[in-house]
Each structure stands twice: as C-alpha cells, then as structure tokens.
Symmetry: D2
Subunit: 140 residues, 4 copies
C-alpha cells in the first residue's frame, strides 16, 4: 500500500477570527490533495474531464488540532474503498514541521456522466491506478 | 422539539465548474444557519464572544441532490446532542421551492476558553436555550 | 436616480486572523448585491442565464473601515456607466448600525454570449431596467 | 529591478458555474504571491506577525483572459510604490503554459500596529528588502 502526500501552505484567507484555519477549508485541502494525486498518477484529465464528473456524496472531517497561518501542511491520501462506481478517499492532515496530526477524514465520490448525470462505472484504467493506493481493507 | 430554519440564496461564487454548489460550501451554509440560530435565541454574542470560542471537532455531510446558482435553500437546525462541554447540531438543507432534501449532516463543537484554549462547560443560560431545540434522543 | 440596497450579515468564515473581513470578500459582497439587484428588477435569469454570461473585466475596492463578524452590512448599488456591451456598477458598503461607510468600489462587466464567448449588446429590456439606477453622469 | 514569481495551480473550488476562476479569487492569488514573497525574502513573520498587520486600503484587478481548472498560474509581484507607512504591490498573472497575461492589478497595504490599530512606519529592515523589487518609478 502506498499513500500520496501533498503539501499546502496555509494562506491568510484560510484563517478566521479565531486565528485558526476555518473548519470548512480542511475539505478544500482534502480536495486539493486529490487534485494533485490525479496529476501525480496521470489522471489529471479525469476530474473535471469532458465526460465524467465526480460529485461528492459524503464528506467527513475530525479536527484534532488547529492549523494556523503559514503552517505547512502535509495531506496524506489513501484509497479507503473502491467500488464499481464510487471511491472513498481517506485523508490525514499533518503539520509538516511538528509532525502532529491535525485532522483526518474522508470523501466519497461517485463517477457520473456529465451529460446524463447518471452514475457510471469508474473506467478500468482509473481503477488500476487507484488500486495501488488502496488501504488493506479498501481493495474489494 | 422545535427546529430552527434559516434561508440562504445560493450566490454565483458558491458554485463550481460542475455548475453546482461546491461540496465544501454546504458546511458554510450549516454554520450560517448556526449563526442565525444564535441571533434568533439571543446568543449572538456567544459565537465569537470575548470569552468562549466554539471550535469544531467533527463535521459531516451527506449530499443527496445538487444545489444550483440562485436556488433558495432552507437550512433546518436541530440540537442532536447536548453534553457538558459540547454540542452536536444536526442540519438538513432543502430546496425551498421544490422542498427536496439536498443534504443533511452535522457539526460537533466544543466550548473552549479563548484565553486558556481549554474546554469549558457550556454556560447554563446557553444550555437552557439549546434544550428547546433538542431532538428526542438528544436531550441528556 | 435610484439606488438599490441589499443587506448582508458577516459570517464567521468571512473573517480572517486579523479578526476583520478578508479584503477579497468585499468583492463577493458587491456581487451578492448585484445578484439581489437582478432579482429585484426581474432580471434574475440574466446573470447565469442560458445565453449570456457577465464576465468581469475590472474590479476595484477602497477600504475605509473594517467589517467584523456579525456586522450587518448595507450594500448600495448604482449603475455608474452603461455602454452598449458593458455595465459599470458602483458599490458602497455601510455598517447598517453605525451608518459608517466601510468600503466603496466598482465592477465592470461585459455581456458575453455563452456559446461564442464574444461580447454582445446588452438586451434592450435589460438596458431599460438598468437606466433607472444610473447615476447622473452614468446615463449615456 | 527584480520581480518575484509564485506558482499556483487552479483548484476546482476556485472555479464558478461559468467554468472559469471566480473574479474574487484573483485577489486571493495576489495575496498568496505576496505571502510567498515574504517567505522568499525572509519576512514571513511580518504579515500576520505579533506586532504589525497589513490591512489593505485599495485593491484593483483587470481581467484579460479567463483562468480555468488545473491551469498553472505564474503570479509576478513587483513593488510599485513604497511610502513611509504603505506599500503598493503590482501583480501580473500569466498562464504558465501559454505565457498569456490573464490579469493584472495591485494591492495597497498600510502597516498598522496590531494593538493601537494606528498606521506605523514600515520597519527599516523591511524597506530594505522591498526596495530590490521596486519598479523604476516606484522607488521614492
């Protein structure tokens, strides 16, 4: 099992008046890691492609410690579950410097045909690339 | 048991290139309803007050149907669980016009002293006001 | 000359670690007033319509005083200039309670055909509705 | 005269229903370049520091061509004007791949004491570092 790691530096706009990153932004960091992951495995054209979109059907995050302005975050992505038409990505966000776990969560996305808006099977070549990042219990 | 309902009209900036509301924004709509709820019950000064902040420890959303630009959303808030130092708000987002359920989810927030950053009991007067919005199984 | 006024209450997510509204959000408040203006004058379907989009070609804001969490803002919109294919909206943002001017600025938008992506004349019926909100020197 | 260049890849959440980057986000890209600039010249602690904040008093952007999902942007920063208590940063955003200019604009920021909220002179060591990035007519 491999994981994919992306780096993101917290921007001023990500913070709120509690002087920590607003909780909704962790989901944006999850998605940013997902985007870099597609880039990394050569699936850049999949998300936002002409044919398939990946609407999210579930999103969850557990917050352990706050992230602050200018913190360098390491976002670790794994494939927690891979089904015919959906994928569940697991995420862990660390403070790169202190190595503390700040948050963990997941996103479940369904492959949908952009025209018909119906769920479609995840293409074989995508499945192949995702499998390498499956956690032990995620591979069906 | 009462619920609180807030209205929100989807702005252009809330949408993404799939021409639907970005999934992370549903969490912002949840929080907006929470803010209006505090206003409604006279706790405006509680969130963002001088003494107590309400960092979120968990957030979850299940997406049923997309919301689009200019849709009028009705966001229903209930108190799903009320503990000494934390509160779990449940949310349901409806399309006001079609009455369809678009999403449901929750936020768990902990009361924290702004200076010491330690969890503190939710003040009695706040508890009293929250209790009226508890779902059957949420009241301790 | 009339102006159009929209109300907006500052949400927690609008603020940043300086405990004031992030400067970029004032542009979102401008646009929200613009959206409510279209609603008000019966042009809801114009922005985000099937045929015409309104990409922005210029945006400017001058910041006088900060806005804070939970402030009720009054956003005043006027039509500062109306040309064949573009419109310049002027905005003033006030703190509704203190009546202080917090910011003023403008947005210039061009009418563009969604298919060809070429600038097109603003439809006559839109021009008629916009004219009532022209400032003295904005009417051609 | 030097300029500073930052890279930023457009995320899905940056786009709107017109399938292009929302105009307000260009200001966030400007600021992100500014943050990386402070990092680059060793002034990381200045923005968001304990003593001084840099509220913006003016922001402007001219949009030439749209940016889209996954575009790699190059954001060029120069110091257009340097006064005792304020600095005007100029920005140009290019599509890194096509080298097209997508947008240009500026931000004027004032140095303010975080406690007193009064404008204060930009510290000498900051001025020294900024000077190297002044455009010909920006140096006083």
């Amino acid at each position: 099992m491999q994981s994919f790691k992306a780096l993101y530096r917290v921007s001023w706009v990500d913070t709120d008046a509690a002087q920590i990153v607003h909780f909704s932004n962790f989901f944006r960091f999850f998605e940013r890691a997902e985007e870099e992951f597609y880039e990394h495995v050569g699936l850049t054209d999949w998300l936002g492609a002409k044919d398939v979109i990946l609407p999210r059907v579930e999103a969850f995050c557990q917050y352990k410690k706050p992230a602050r302005f200018n913190d360098l975050l390491e976002i670790e992505l794994t494939v927690e579950a891979l089904k015919e038409k959906s994928v569940k990505y697991g995420f862990k966000i660390y403070n790169k410097k202190t190595t503390e776990l700040l948050a963990n969560g997941y996103i479940v996305a369904v492959a949908v045909d952009r025209q018909t808006l119906r769920a479609v099977p995840i293409p074989k070549e995508v499945v192949e690339k995702l499998k390498a990042f499956c956690t032990a219990d995620g591979a069906k």
